[in-house]
Amino acid sequence: MPDEAAKPAAAPAPGPDVVRALREAGVTALIAFGLFLPLIGFNTVQNIRNELVLETRWVLLFSMVAIIAALRFAQVAFIAPYLAEQRQKRAARPVVEATETPWWTNYAVLGALVLYPLLAILFTVLINGAPGGAAKWIDNFGIQILIYVLLGWGLNVVVGFAGLLDLGYVAFYAIGAYTCALLSLHFGLSSFWLLLPLAGVLAAFWGILLGFPVLRLRGDYLAVVTLAFGEIIRLVLINWVPVTKGYAGVSSLPRPSFFGYPFVDAPGGFADRFGIPFSPLHRLLYLYYILLIAVALSAVIISRLRRLPVGRSWEALREDEIACRSLGINTTNSKLAAFAIGAFFGGIAGALFTARQGFISPESVNFSESALILAIVVLGGMGSMTGVAIAAAVIIGGTEALRELAFLKQIFGQDFDPAQYRMLLFGFAMVVIIVWKPRGLIGTREPTVVLKERKRIDASLVREGHG
């Protein structure tokens, strides 16, 4: 059906309209020539005797005119028809699309993630002859991206599902991380496996505590208050020096041990116990798989929650709060649940962050971190877990990949540091996404329950949150 609709409109222009393009290019060239003749074509210089001499720069002038004519030709002949065709295709596409994702996609992705660190080690051994270089790939790319996936999914519950704009999400990340830090520092709790759930629960508790007063606010006001909450947490962490050690941060935090065997190069350590040579890679591999399990579990939990009445009430809340109340849904409870669950995953991510770094300071929890997580959620497509995971991989992986572009120094000189252009590229990516896919990478919505046929819902129908 849509193809038939698109055909008659496209039929009159089978190929690029060369004649028209040439004419347009000629006109543009004339205009450019007229404009550039005085500007580029003539140049006045002073000679030794202070006389003003008129120079002509025909080569420069004609090359500029030629470039502009060529660009115009390309635009009329190729770019404009292509864009028009794309627009037509988009208009002809039905708003509702059938889903074609095969059932094994999730398993395939999970399998690839399980194999990833092993492949990283294999390739490093093949290239370098030693596995040491794989640490970077497992840690910076693997573990870091998974932490951000966890954070993105947590915030996605609040922003994507419930439509509550939270600009201070990093506060929960901070609470999770500092729960681990302070409990081990002051109370001597040294078991990571005890601290991990505590971090999540305490973060959820703070989520509810923050939620109570602010949930009557909507939209921009909610955003401002959550932003302030994030800053309050950070400032408390900086200034309450006796407890938090301020800027200095807390170091040597407990790291996860393998059923009681720590990853240390000492008797009683993991390597010693299993009779294998010690390698720092063991700890990273272990942490990677812990995170992978955490991420897989969260995927199951969050996608299940979405299909439960509470999840449906979040999305209904995002669509129309008044209608929700007319159906007997206690919107305060729904919002609090969203806040608490979002905060819980933030806290878990924070605890896992301390397991990775072994160190936490207020520097790691500033506003730019909140903005980064929010950017991941927005770029991924609010409400889409796949989209958020892809966005986290692209943004965090992309930033890390910039560090790998050291060879560019040979072109741009030794002072060139590609990582410095991170923010520039980040902003550029944002603009591109906003223009090209304003609702994020995956803008369509999956229905939570199906009677006969599963259809995706186009983003144009789904409301964005308004508080």
């Binding site: 229905p447 009677l451 259809k455």
Partner: protein, 299 residues
């Protein structure tokens, strides 16, 4: 047999200096369709918003009762006790003006539709009906705990909920569109879906705010038939705001006419149709009659 389901007494709603509803008393009988009519700006929707808890009335009492009618006897004691409701095994009595809006829907089982349709546009028709069964499903899912681990009792409850949604989709002729987003349905379909969504909450009282607005005569005849069949088959009383007099006269058992926030007539459709004050309010009167009519109304 006929006991009231809803009693509104001396309801007054002021917005600053504007009196939207003034000292209004009305009753809606159980199992009846009670229509609330009146010219634009008469305060009909304000009354609805007071009943459904979206506005807190300035003065007055709004009592709703279901179950055994003798519970009405407890009305005065309940009012004095300062509690919201009186719940017994054989029925319940609620004072709606004391309850927040979601409680009115959840506990007192008052469902409503909106003048400008408020569906969840980005959710499918089926999802809209599932959200309406939030109370039942929430309990079945053990407040999400049992549901999250896939407890069988929750799965059964969800199947039942889908079954019920399917029933209402069939009743409204929307089964074919069950998996399409609500925002893509036609206007008439959206209106029917909103009624189906309200019915999925198992209401005791269904408040319909202009359900026939924008429908053609054929569609409004269908709507009348649909509302009548709901009343026949389900224990639902209805309160109806409508401008389409054909629908009002055809289906309502009782008509209440408002003008400028005051009740000017109350009776069967036939009585109201021939009431001079109603005719005056709708059609206007000759100059000398205006003073007399206004004096009677109390303006």
């Amino acid at each position: 047999m006929t006991a009231p389901v809803l009693r509104v007494e001396h309801l007054t709603m002021r917005f600053g200096g504007l009196v939207a509803v003034h000292d209004l008393s009305l009753t809606a009988e159980r199992g009846h369709i009670t229509a609330l009519i009146g010219p634009n700006g008469a305060g009909k929707t304000t009354v609805f918003n007071c009943i459904t808890g979206f506005y807190k009335p300035t003065e007055g009492r709004i009592a709703l009762q279901f179950g055994e009618p003798h519970l009405w006897d407890a009305l005065e004691t309940l009012t004095e006790s300062g509690k919201r409701g009186h719940v017994r095994w054989d029925g319940s009595l609620y004072l709606l003006e004391r309850m927040p809006n979601y409680m009115v829907a959840k506990r007192a089982r008052v469902a409503r539709t909106f003048q400008n349709i408020r569906l969840f546009q980005g959710m499918t028709a089926l999802e809209n009906l599932m959200v309406a069964q939030h109370k039942t499903l929430m309990r079945a899912s053990g407040f999400s705990v049992l549901g999250a681990i896939g407890w069988p009792s929750y799965r059964r409850a969800e199947c039942d909920a889908i079954e019920k949604a399917h029933y209402w989709l069939d009743r409204t002729g929307l089964t074919e569109r069950a998996d399409d987003p609500a925002g893509q349905l036609s206007y008439g379909q959206q209106q029917r879906l909103e009624i189906a969504r309200a019915m999925c909450t198992d209401p005791v009282l269904l408040c319909l705010d202009e359900p026939a607005a924008g429908l053609n005569p054929h569609e409004s005849a269908e709507l009348s038939e649909f509302l009548r069949s709901i009343r026949r088959q389900h224990e639902t009383s209805m309160l109806l705001i409508e401008h389409d007099m054909t629908v009002v006269m055809e289906i309502s058992d009782h008509v209440i006419v408002l003008d400028h926030g005051v009740k000017i007539a109350d009776g069967t459709p036939n009585e109201v149709r021939n009431d001079q004050k109603v005719i005056a309010a709708y059609l206007g009167v000759e100059d000398e009659e205006v003073g007399a009519a206004e004096a009677e109304v109390g303006l």
